[in-house]
Amino acid sequence: MQSSATKLVEELGRFGIVEWIDSHTLIVHVDRSKLRDIAKYLHWGIGGYFSVSIGSDERPLDNSFHVYHVFSLDHLGVYVVVDIRVSPGYLHVPSITPIIPGANWHEREVMDYFGIMFDDHPEPKRLILPYNWPKGVYPLRKDYPYNKKVYIEEASDEPEHDSRFAGKYTIIPIGPYHPALHEPEYFELYVDGERIVGARYKGFMVHRGMEKIAESRMTINQIPFLAERICGICGYTHNVAYCQAVENVAGIDVPERAHYIRSIMLEIERIHSHMLWLGIAFHFLGFDTGFMITWRLREKVMDLAEMLTGNRKTYGLNLIGGVRRDIDLSKALKVKKVLRDLRKDYVDYMEKILGLKEIIYRTRGVGVLDYGEARKYSVLGPTARASGIDTDVRKYHPYAAYRHVDFKIPVYKDGDVLSRILVRHEEIIESINIIEQLLDNLPRTPIMAEEIHVPEHRIGVGVTEAPRGEDIHFVITSRDNKIYRWRPRAPSYNNIPALLVMLKDQHLADAPIIIASIDPCFSCTDHVLIIDVRTGSRKQVGLRELSRRGLG
């Protein structure tokens, strides 16, 4: 392990200067000319995968912009941050999207927020900012105050519709208000009769401006609570990821018991999230009884969460350096009892449900994402595992207490919806196992680190395995107990682009279940927006448009 890591450092030395940020994160400062080579080497050469890109305005520090590409090397347990310095005079970086299609959105997001252009990008359009956002205004730059208002003119023409299909095929709009989507996103399906010939995605409709708020208004210990509100389902995993990022920077020695409690809560969150998803999936397949069963079982998990943290959701449990609430023995026993019953009921019901012909028929061979496509888009979590990619942050980049437990990672090769159901199904059982193991071995230590000192202007990477996949938080610290740059990336961000591949040539009837099959968390994906300051103006536009179309 150690030797292969040193070998990696040597290899990466060919591309630029290599440093260790912490025990399992490398940073490589590369020149723009070497960028594509290193991206190719990391993603396609040695079996890592592209994880996230971060733009950063560091003009106050070293008078330049930076773009960081983060790669995960599962087999070495190492994250590699590729750092490209961009001088303010020439805001151009070679795009890595031609090599790794999955980087498409990441690079466009940096374009939107910082005005850094990516050369040879196949689709250099706006991703997040609305089409009528004024040109030349880049909201995440440091010279843009967080409370500045931008006035937006009403829409003149919206460059909508895929010209290859529009007019020739029927447009079936799915979203933003559609029974199959519980969050506002827009899929435009081009349908010939019952067959989908093409699809277009428009997302980023939820505007909360979290990154800017965190960077400009909040202190280090407030952000965990903000991070938890990124998502209504898997919020706690964001919280943990953020805390780990900061703890990694600061080198804080978090007590073991805190690690254990975090792991327990993460797994409880995973169980409830997967059960919620299963219920919705069954509902989309028209099998409402399955929906009722899984949600009824999920209620027990929610009760557990409430008992352990005081909240059904949004636990508010973490601070930098540890957790705020302990688990005592009586609670632990109760949890174990509930889980034992739950496992029995759950396995029982699921065996019956998965024996239903309609469920199998509706999901087998549907929405296939094969291994090659999955690698291209670097999909994560259960979606990746259903496509034959053996990846799990808990196993390959162990954090919290996962190194102390024994669990297996379900991997299926078919890449269809059924595989995704089975992966999640088995993960629920594994999670129950993990919680039981953790509760059995709960160490007797304090739950909070005593001494916390966060150094300035250092890069930290915190990663957790969210129910939907790898959740990565990238942090650059600042002085005054603040954060200079915070970029959380939810797994759905990488998974959603792969949907367009899955939807192609499928039946219209399968569209909802395919979209749901990656368990897309749209609010996770969209949270990063900065546009809350101008919601007033946006709202007017929206209402006027809506009432014009008779929807108001």
């Binding site: 919206e158 909508e160 519709h161 529009a166 007019g167 020739k168 095929y169 029927t170 447009i171 709009p173 799915i174 979203g175 933003p176 208000y177 559609h178 827009y186 435009e188 349908v191 010939d192 009769g193 019952e194 067959r195 448009e545 809506l546 179309r549 008779g550 929807l551």
Partner: protein
């Protein structure tokens, strides 16, 4: 001038107009030809109504023959007779040609400056006259002449638009199939018939002689019948001889399409009625053969119609399908007649003829509405058309009535005739009941297909809103014709007594008379003793079902709130929310693809090869005609034949 004189003078006097029409071009020619044809149609209607109502016949014989010692010369006896069977068909012809002539006044305006209107006029008038001739002649020889004229003139009408390659090809194909396929067989059959009837061509004589032949040597008689049935079947587009029709009918100007589909394909059916009921007695095996052809035809035609995306082509395929119903009725009545079940045979024949006149009404109306759409938009593509109801409300309404009629929705006319056919087959039991159930299934496919036809063209919002700005209702003559036919569709659906009386009168000629069979028809809703179909409680119920909702909407004027189309809260351009015709019933088509594969095989093997064969034959014939030696030999042979015949 009594009616007999009019009957006597109608054909020669209208033929006089042909050269006059040919002299003019443009508007004048248009007005003359349609003026003449309207007059002719009205006269035809009056004559046939008179005959049907009074039960008498109009008759005249014109003898130019002096010497009876040579039997072949007796051909020169020209005998025309309008009996009630002919009158029923001439009534159909009169109604449809009246509507399509009125319609033509407006529609032919499309071709001003592009095509020779006089050429159209000559053929159009000739077409109507020749059909009239086919129906009224009482003489096989004259029948052949008029039949030839009918095919010739209709062929020129099919390929009227000279610059359209498709039209020329369709005309050529039509010519090859009907001239070299159908007509040769028909003529061969008729000539054999003439020979066996001792060179007497008068229907009555032929009938009696042929019936004798049937008793004496049934093999030969059946062979002749087979030949004639084949030939007529090709002309009537029975599957598997159907594949010329969907090419030919749509290419003609729309009012001619109406005549082609509404009337011309009924001509062979007319001959079949005479053939099986006058010239011979129906037998069980003929009944089985005919009704099997009917079922196959209605099945294939309708299933193919379901997948068409060209408006007129869709209608043409439905012509095949609906002819299937007519032929099924004929076959069923044949079987029942042979089995001695005269009442049911009567009812089956009644259904067959009722459906025939209904089909003439709603199919020609559908072609006229399709023509109106072409007139205003120039489009026949169901993928591109949409939302015309707003601009052409009257056309839309008439198209809706016609669609509901052909779909057999009560209380429109299609329902009544289909109902009678089903009743006869269901009550007959046996294989006929299976056929009836099959037809019942197919009627729902017909309905589905017309949901597609109507909704794609007329409902929803326009595909390209900008391009429809100048769109308006079609000119007065065209809408008048449509309204006329639509009114008849409703009339024949609700006031069932009128057509029933007409048909009963026509059938009585074929040896089946309702008067004897009152007792059986008692229970059957419409055909009660006093022919009071309208009073039946069932019918009141239907009318309530249709009328009450309409009255509720129109009189009570319930309150509505207006909304936009719900498209999930996104802004999609109006025109892009578009559902092209080809996307309809995709799943059905895919799942029931076997039906189409089988149909396609029939299409390929029988249809295409027969056409290829006729094309080859035609080319060979052309070579012979171009070759002087062969031509001389041929002429010699013909001359010798004539001498041989005369010297009998």
């Amino acid at each position: 001038m009594d009616l007999n004189t009019i009957f006597y003078l109608l054909i020669p006097s209208s033929l006089i107009f042909l050269p006059i029409i040919a002299l003019f071009r443009g508007k004048t020619s248009n007005y003359i030809v349609h003026g003449v044809s309207i007059t002719v149609s009205i006269i035809i209607i009056i004559l046939s109504l008179y005959v049907l109502a009074s039960g008498s016949t109009l008759d005249f014989t014109y003898k130019i023959c002096l010497d009876y010692s040579y039997p072949i010369l007796s051909f020169k006896v020209i005998h025309f007779r309008l009996d009630s069977l002919s009158a029923f068909f001439t009534l159909v012809l009169g109604i449809v040609s009246l509507a399509s002539s009125i319609y033509g006044i407006g529609y032919i305006g499309r071709f001003y400056g592009r095509e020779h209107i006089g050429w159209y006029g000559v053929n159009y008038l000739l077409f109507i006259i020749s059909m009239y001739g086919v129906l009224t002649t009482y003489n096989l020889f004259i029948f052949i002449i008029f039949w030839e004229l009918m095919t010739l003139s209709s062929q020129f009408l099919v390929s009227y638009e000279k610059n359209k390659k498709q039209a020329l090809w369709a005309g050529y194909k039509y010519f090859c199939v009907s001239k070299l396929g159908a007509e040769m067989i028909i003529i061969a059959g008729l000539v054999l018939m003439i020979i066996y009837s001792g060179y007497n061509v008068d229907y009555e004589v032929v009938a009696s002689r042929f019936r004798e032949l049937f008793l004496r040597t049934p093999v030969i008689a059946n062979a002749v019948l087979m030949l004639l049935f084949m030939g007529l079947g090709i002309k009537a587009a029975l599957v598997p001889f159907h594949n010329w029709l969907p090419d030919a009918h749509p290419e003609a100007p729309s009012n001619v399409s109406a005549l082609l589909s509404g009337v011309m394909i009924k001509m062979p059916i007319y001959m079949m009625y005479r053939l099986f009921y006058q010239f011979s007695q129906p037998t069980i095996y003929w009944g089985v053969i005919i009704s099997s052809f009917g079922v196959v035809t209605l099945f294939t035609g309708t299933l193919y119609a379901l997948v068409q995306i060209d408006s007129k082509r869709l209608l043409a395929y439905h012509s095949i399908g609906q002819i299937g119903y007519v032929v099924l009725g004929l076959g069923a009545s044949g079987t029942l007649y042979a089995m001695g079940n005269y009442p049911l045979a009567f009812i089956a024949l009644l259904g067959s003829m009722y459906h025939l006149i209904n089909h003439a009404l709603f199919k020609s109306l559908l072609f006229l509405t399709a023509g109106s759409v072409v007139y205003r938009t120039g489009l026949r593509d169901l993928n591109k058309l949409s939302g015309l109801a707003k601009y052409m409300p009257l056309t839309a309404l008439t198209a809706l009535i016609a669609s509901l009629s052909i779909a057999g929705i009560p209380p429109f006319n299609g329902f009544v005739s289909k109902w009678i056919i089903y009743i006869s087959t269901f009550c007959a039991g046996g294989y006929l009941a299976f056929y009836g159930l099959f037809a019942l299934f197919i009627s729902s496919v017909t309905a589905a297909s017309f949901v597609k036809y109507f909704t794609t063209i007329f409902t929803r919002s326009p595909f390209e809103p900008g391009s429809y700005k100048k769109l308006e209702e079609v000119p007065f003559p065209m809408s008048l014709a449509q309204v006329m036919l639509a009114a008849l569709c409703i009339l024949f659906g609700i006031v069932v007594v009128i057509p029933l009386k007409l048909i009963t009168s026509a059938i009585s000629l074929l040896g089946l008379n309702i008067i004897q069979y009152q007792y059986i028809s008692f229970g059957i809703g419409f055909i009660e003793v006093n022919n009071i179909g309208v009073n039946s409680p069932l019918f009141i119920g239907f009318i309530l079902a249709i009328i009450l909702p309409i009255l509720y909407i129109l009189i009570a004027r319930p309150r509505y709130t207006s909304y936009g189309i719900w498209s999930c809260g996104t802004l999609v351009k109006e025109g892009l929310l578009h559902y092209p015709g080809r996307s309809y019933f995709r799943g059905f088509k895919e799942v029931f693809s076997e039906a189409y594969t089988v149909g396609k095989a029939v299409h390929e093997v029988l249809g295409v090869t027969s056409i290829n064969y006729s094309l080859k034959f035609f080319k060979k014939l052309q070579r012979i005609i171009e070759d002087p030696v062969a031509m001389i030999v041929l002429t010699l042979v013909v001359v010798l034949l004539i001498i041989w015949a005369v010297g009998w």
